[in-house]
Symmetry: C2
Subunit: 333 residues, 2 copies
């Protein structure tokens, strides 16, 4: 027995005790036969004496492990989802599609590591990746799919259309009539749903729709900044902008500042997501809360059901968004 | 053989095909003997026919798994470190100390799951937790320790003192002489190191130190906001504040806005961390970059060495911080 609290025996400890080199110890450990029999025996005895545990055998557990796969780990958005999934009680290996080892497809590396399931946060789920997981019988749940998913594919999203509607209705209620909107990439259905909510709010209030006031960014800061500049340079500039994401809203606030406009006195701005940064913005952002942590938690629970071979109540769940009013919106001047 | 692309067989599929209840199938799967022999045989055949893979056996892999443990998953800070660790090539289970299952200590749950190693990002590493990991021979690396670590304990930090020095020297070079500083909790040595760097910069420039200009927050937005207000209410208010963290810097910018002061015209603000939000702030923050992703990557590599029983070059590594000048600092009015 090793002494409790004793330093862990390493290969170097064994080599020193045996009076041989590290490679020799390593050869014995790996069952190579080019080491003299008596040396081999002496080293094997030392392994036992020091209670050496080879690294490869240190891991076995029965708890199901799942992968949580992001397109890229580059946004504060990710930590909200990770927290939610961790709270669902699953053991979660976090990875990024750009980091699959040795150029394996990420789905192949999941199969190789024999994961019990996969949670995927991406706009880039290919049918090839789906097929790989399906063949390996690894259940899959998609979080916030940007394209309308195959009805067979379990997914958790948010009410994007309703969020776009409530953001725009808030601005109309404040008295705005000339309202710009900045969506994400036009191919993303979540972006189209937010913009459709905007259109419906205008129609219900009998405010004319002006295609010039609709722009498409990339959901990131830079896109918001550029598109807001375009909107602020229009001959008749908007008095309010629904920016489609918090990052784009922060870009819009900065475009206003650089243009000499004050938020909200000269321009009202509404975001989408309600990341922690929305509270930290100056002024704090009015935004549509997307319950990212709850979405992660819900997706984790769905995956646990699939792993346990239980049927799902519903394959497609949309959690409610909610308008959070802070200080970046006010009546027009 | 199951058909390629066929839906995965569930216990329900088997029960339906056998014409028995789900609990009966479950009993056979779990080797219980209170099922009639012929029923048992029929169900076993169906398991084979449908190529049913019991959940418990779906996972075995030889790749070392490590845990990355945060005190709490509540900051955009976390995603930077996660990205770095993932880039180090380790398979990383992300968890939070507040989420250890069934009230186990987090260290106990690591032992239970037989992890190959642990990366810990926390100010709350107790000697009890360390002892638990040590007994189980699970190597440990600490990221950004807030207390000076035991020299035996491998850790990766950043040059906090140097960061405080360069932030303050930048403000002095701009012409500021009345410079406030907001640290984190006084017990955190990383905070004391930043403030000591501030003091040394003042001394080198022969600017008198004024204890009234030193405040302690919590490294979060709220703390920065409150302490900045106190500083701005001083009879002779500072013309610049080194805010100790990006979150506190954003709180300081908001305190200035609410006080009717413009950044940087009336007040210069410097952060610490250089999170993505520093770029998104309006105005974009001048801040001290702490290489969080690189710290995570370096810690991951150190842990991989420890798992492979290789000696470390150094147990304590500090990566360099660097001043990043943006638009929240300017000469005093």
């Amino acid at each position: 027995m090793a002494k409790t609290g004793a330093r862990r025996a390493t290969l170097a400890t064994i080599a020193e005790a045996a009076g041989v080199s590290l490679p020799t110890v390593s050869k014995v450990l790996n069952g190579k036969d080019d080491v003299a029999a008596d040396t081999r025996a002496r080293i094997r005895n030392l392994f036992e004496e020091h209670n050496y545990v080879p690294v490869g055998t240190r891991r076995t557990s029965n708890k199901a492990l799942v992968d949580l796969v992001f397109s890229a780990l580059d946004s504060p958005w990710a930590v909200e989802i990770i927290r939610g999934v961790v709270e669902s009680g699953l053991d979660v290996v976090v990875s990024s599609m750009t980091n699959a080892p040795r150029r394996l497809r990420w789905a192949e590396s999941l199969v190789k590591e024999r994961r019990a399931g996969a949670l995927v946060v991406t706009s880039e789920l290919t049918s090839a990746d789906r097929r790989i997981l399906q063949r390996a019988q690894i259940p899959l749940v998609v979080i916030d799919p940007v394209d309308l998913p195959d009805p067979d594919l379990p997914s958790v999203g948010a009410t994007n259309w309703g969020g776009g509607l409530s953001a725009t209705e808030h601005l109309i209620e404040l008295g705005h009539r000339r309202i710009g909107v900045i969506g994400g990439p036009p191919g993303f259905l979540c972006s189209r749903a937010r913009i459709d909510g905007y259109r419906t709010a205008l129609e219900r209030a009998e405010v004319a729709f002006d295609a010039d006031l609709v722009r498409h960014g990339d959901f990131h800061h830079e896109g918001g900044y550029r598109r807001a500049f375009e909107l602020l340079e229009l001959p008749e500039r908007p008095t309010a902008i629904f920016a489609g994401s918090d990052e784009q809203a922060l870009g819009t606030v900065e475009a206003a500042r650089v243009s000499g406009l004050s938020v909200p006195a000269d321009l009202s701005v509404v975001g989408f997501d309600d990341l922690p940064v929305a509270r930290w913005s100056s002024p704090p952002l009015t935004t549509v809360r997307q319950p990212l942590a709850e979405m992660g938690q819900h997706a984790g629970r769905m995956l646990a059901e699939l792993i346990a071979d239980n049927p799902l109540n519903s394959h497609r769940v949309e959690l409610a968004t909610q308008l959070t009013v802070r200080s970046s919106t006010a009546p027009p001047a």
